[in-house]
């Protein structure tokens, strides 16, 4: 493809959603249908545009484009390489599905005219983060996305949501400021903040340490890394389910992406090892994995349990960054894919359950599997993938990671993965098994009250009462992806991950 065309498409995927935000905001006040249609069209067009970049990205070429200079030496610039491509492909795909899902989900909620523009704006800024050509641009889009996502978090406007939202906002600003500090130090030490110009900081100094910790705090907050995860279990459950899916599925990954870029573009593998920073990250990641999984066990609310599970899973991603061989990095990047797909499925399914039955407590979900078989099947597939049952994609990523850890001589990390998988099993299985096999609450209470009602309930129990097609379809698509990407180890995401890992290890 011609360079200019690629650049044009690249700019299109960022600017188009941002532009459509304004249009949807305007249209949303007039017509709900048009608003839905436009949002869908935007997400679809963005996804198609991203697909069009596929040959270019896989071909290994790097496209750079400077938009304009804000300050001397600090430009807003964009850059497409294989790692960015991985993430924009993933985001635009999940975004498309979440948008489809939202149409029915939001139909009964208030504030759709606010939800869709924000959804599109976060899409644009999220792609902006992944396509940023330098840390300054990355920081700006990061701040924009994080702050606008606040509106998604507080969408329900309940007191809980407001409280969680405030926590989210403060923590996000703290994270933004930390990244800001990191970018400044980076600019001062390296004279540039461009991505892909080799290590910007090439020796360990107090300032460099400060930069490392600033980035770690900033991106770590976003990635929900211990001890900065405090906002996450509050914020994700209160958002509307499609938004939770995106928050957990994609927006957490911006933090992981930032950390990857930090390791390979601000610093270098040598410096990370020399200063033992990778060990610091690994320790935090291990704590994150164990803590996230353990706390998830104690959660009664389904969405909170999923949110804590996200904390644990992000721990894998961070842990994977600390060992620098191709196998681990492939697994790491593939886990970004897997987790995004699995967690989105889970949140979408949970959303459908809550939407249909208004039940959030796990104990109340017994027997619902018979009422909503498709939804619960999708949930089950994704949950099993989370646990790491073969042949699902979660297994593939854990397998690759474990192989890599062994190769790199970090056998103990494999142990951590195993423990965590056990914990995962302990908190996911009690949702799935009673859902299909257990008795419904109404049945139990019916037993006590009398025969007749029991009989009536019986009739309802076997009534299949699924959510609407537009809500079920995205889940099914995602669940199929979970399966497919697990069964065929030579699938597209896996190849892309491997390419990205190679690319990173070759020095960006």
């Amino acid at each position: 493809m011609e360079e200019q065309l690629v650049t044009a498409i690249m700019m299109f995927v960022i600017v188009f959603p941002l532009f459509m935000t304004a249009v949807i905001m305007y249209v949303g006040q007039q017509s709900e249908r048009l608003c839905n249609a436009l949002s869908l069209a935007t997400a679809a067009a963005t996804f198609l545009a991203v697909l069009a970049l596929y040959p270019e990205a896989v071909g290994g070429s790097v496209v750079e484009y400077d938009l304009f200079e804000v300050l001397p030496d600090l430009a807003v610039s964009f850059r497409l390489d294989i790692l960015s491509y991985n993430l924009i492909l993933l985001s635009s795909f999940i975004w498309l599905l979440a948008t489809i899902y939202s149409i029915d989900y939001m139909a009964h909620e208030h504030g759709g005219e606010r939800f869709y523009p924000v959804l599109m704006f976060t899409l644009g800024s999220c792609l902006g983060i992944f396509l940023a050509g330098d840390f300054f641009t990355l920081f700006i889009f990061f701040e924009l996305m994080s702050l606008i996502a606040y509106i998604l978090v507080i969408h329900e406007e309940t007191p809980d949501a407001l409280k969680a939202g405030y926590k989210y906002l403060v923590v996000t600003i703290l994270g933004g400021l930390a990244i800001f500090l990191g970018v400044i130090i980076c600019f001062e030490l390296g004279g540039s903040v461009s991505i892909g110009e080799g290590p910007l900081i090439d020796e360990v100094s107090p300032l460099a340490t400060m930069a490392f910790f600033s980035f770690l705090i900033g991106f770590g907050i976003k990635a929900g890394m211990f001890p900065l995860h405090v906002w996450l279990p509050d914020a994700h459950p209160v958002a509307p389910s499609p938004a939770s899916a995106l928050l957990s599925g994609i927006m957490l990954k911006t933090g992981a992406y930032g950390l990857l870029r930090m390791i390979f573009d601000v610093f270098s593998v040598e410096i990370m090892q020399q200063a033992n920073w990778n060990l610091i990250m690994a320790i935090l990641a291990v704590i994150t994995i164990i803590l996230g999984s353990a706390v998830a066990l104690t959660q009664e609310d389904i969405k909170r349990r999923l949110a804590y599970s996200s904390v644990g899973q992000m721990g894998y991603v961070v842990l994977g960054m600390t060992v620098f061989n191709e196998q681990v990095l492939t697994g790491d990047i593939f886990h970004i894919f897997s987790h995004a797909i699995m967690k989105s499925t889970l949140f979408l399914a949970a959303g459908a359950i809550i939407w249909k039955t208004h039940k959030r407590k796990i104990s109340e979900m017994a027997g619902l599997g018979r009422q909503m078989p498709v939804t619960f099947s999708c949930f089950a597939v994704a949950a099993l993938a989370m646990i790491g049952i073969p042949p699902l994609n979660g297994f593939l990523s854990k397998w690759t990671l474990s192989l890599g850890f062994l190769e790199g001589g970090f056998a103990v990390y494999v142990l951590v993965l195993l423990i965590s998988s056990m914990l995962n099993a302990m908190y996911y299985l009690p949702i799935i098994i009673p859902a299909f096999l257990g008795e419904r609450e109404e049945e139990k209470s019916g037993d006590k009250e009398g025969e007749e009602e029991d009989w009536e309930d019986e009739a309802i129990v076997f009534n299949v009462d699924e959510a609407t097609f537009r809500m079920v379809a995205p889940m099914v698509v995602l669940a199929v992806c979970t399966l497919v990407f697990g069964i065929f180890p030579a699938n597209i995401p896996f190849d892309l991950s491997r390419l990205a890992a190679e690319f990173l290890l070759l020095g960006g």
Binding site: L71, Y166, V170, I173, E188
Partner: protein
């Protein structure tokens, strides 16, 4: 059309003259006061833009402008980069505040004194322009006093008890500052025998060895004096009362412009009158740095506990003026080539002027429309006062330093400067204060939009367009300076370069 060299003096003299004509107009043609005042400031704005253009492009202002043609011993006006930048800020923001004030003052001031308000306003504008332009220490003193009196009067014009008391406190402390300034000028005159800044600078360089103590004392007095006047912590005690109790347009102009002009004057004197060797010997910049740091932190902390919205904004001004002084403080005389911090500090003059006057105007709009002053009463007003609260979001984002707003750009420069002179601690200060700002600004608009409204039965007075338009324009400017600050920064870099040489 007089030649461009005459513009500065025409501006200052014209504004002062119109200020005195205002009472007459008020007696004869009451309705003309406002249009004439607006016209005057607009002309001044156009002139300052011409001046800034000429300073950047041409060389009309290379030579100073000697009053009465008395070269080397008269009063000199000199439009350098910094002064012309400040002129544009003063008149640009001042014009918008004036337009805003027309609507607001109808409610806040009694009919009898409204004409005087414009007198004081033009006097303030003229004197501030004079302070920015003059190159003469004593002339600066005179303009400072005009600014001080008219600033006090513009508070006390609303005759209620808080205003009067605040105004008196302001007057006394500002008189103290003036006393220090005059003593300092006396000492400088004793050493050098000149009042002209350039010549003082030249002569002082020769006298460093002979009168080190005199110079030291003069410099400290100078910092104390300007510190009092621009509310540098811990000399800020007068500010919260004064800025909170004044009529909202007055608060806007006081917080937005008046405290900055003293900072500009201090920069002028510090860098032009005192030679670099003295700055190297004396840790004056360090002292300013620490004062500003304390101001940034404590101003924010005090702001957090305020109930009254305007008082909160006033305390936040103390923190924000700290940024301006931090820019000065982060200048390292040993490494004069690292100027980002100074640029950032000076840039913050513009950004803070724009955003703080905007916020005070929004406070004024809320008071005008709903009569609410306490922050906790603001719950749910977002749906009734939609646009003011939207703009408030922009303003508070800029206060926190979110990208694409002006506040971010100044913080960026300050942080860069701090790193450049190896003082990363101060970046942490900036970050801590941004976080504090977030903690007290964010809940306001969150509650305004999302909390249950307490005001279902209150009638909200419609806000006239003349009050809304300036706020919207300022909101646009906050974003503009956040997205495209390059021209301003260009001017400021030249300004700093010419100051340091």
């Amino acid at each position: 059309m007089p030649a461009i060299e005459h513009y500065p003096i025409i501006m200052v003299a014209g504004l002062l003259l119109l200020a005195f004509i205002m009472p007459l107009l008020y007696i004869w043609k009451r309705n003309w006061c406002e249009p004439v005042a607006i016209f005057a400031i607009s002309v001044a704005l156009v002139m300052s833009l011409c001046i800034i253009y000429e300073v950047v492009q041409g060389d009309a202002f290379e030579e100073g402008y000697w009053m009465g043609g008395w070269e080397h011993f008269g009063i000199e006006f000199k439009a350098d980069y910094l002064s012309s930048y400040m002129l544009a800020v003063i008149h640009g923001v001042g014009l918008l505040i004036l337009i805003y004030g027309i609507g607001d003052l109808k409610k806040e001031l009694v009919e009898k004194v409204r004409g005087w308000y414009y007198t004081l306003y033009l006097l303030l504008m003229g004197a501030m322009s004079g302070m920015a332009l003059t190159n003469d220490l004593f002339n600066l003193f005179v303009f400072m006093e005009i600014v001080a009196i008219s600033a006090c009067a513009i508070i006390s014009i609303k005759e209620d008890r808080e205003c009067l008391e605040a105004s008196f406190k302001y007057l006394i402390l500002s008189a103290m500052g003036t006393g220090c300034y005059l003593l300092s000028v006396a000492m400088i005159y004793m050493i050098t025998g000149y009042m002209n800044l350039d010549m003082v600078g030249e002569t002082m360089a020769l006298g460093v060895g002979e009168y080190p103590l005199n110079i030291l004392v003069a410099m400290s007095l100078m910092v104390v004096s300007f510190g009092v006047k621009s509310a540098l912590f811990p000399l800020h005690v007068w500010l919260p009362d004064a800025h909170a109790s004044a009529p909202s347009p007055s608060s806007a102009v006081l917080s937005g412009l008046v405290i900055k002009i003293y900072a500009v004057a201090l920069v002028h004197i510090l860098f032009r009158a005192f030679p670099m060797e003295i700055l190297k010997e004396v840790p004056m910049t360090d002292i300013i740095l620490w004062m500003s740091t304390l101001g940034i932190i404590f101003g924010s902390i005090f702001a957090m506990v305020q109930e009254n919205f305007k008082k909160m904004l006033a305390y936040s001004s103390i923190a924000q003026i700290g940024y301006v002084f931090m820019g000065i403080g982060l200048f390292d005389p040993e490494r004069p080539e690292e100027t980002e911090a100074l640029v950032g500090g000076l840039l913050h003059i513009l950004n803070h002027a724009v955003m703080k006057s905007m916020l005070f105007m929004i406070a004024g709009i809320i008071i005008y429309s709903a009569g609410l002053k306490k922050i906790r009463d603001f719950d749910g007003i977002g749906n009734r006062l939609k646009w003011p609260m939207y703009i408030f979001i922009i303003g508070s984002a800029s206060m926190v330093g979110i990208p694409i707003t002006g506040g971010f750009m100044s913080k960026l420069h300050l942080a860069q400067g701090a790193i450049a002179v190896d003082m990363p601690f101060f970046v942490m200060v900036i970050i801590a204060s941004s976080l504090l700002n977030a903690i007290y600004y964010m809940p306001i608009f969150i509650n305004a939009f999302l909390s249950e409204s307490k005001h279902e039965n209150v009638t909200f007075k419609p806000v006239p367009g003349s009050m809304m338009i300036p706020v919207v324009i300022l909101g646009g400017l906050v974003l503009l300076f956040g997205i495209y600050p390059a021209p301003v920064i260009g001017v400021l870099e030249s300004a700093v370069e010419s100051l340091i040489q």
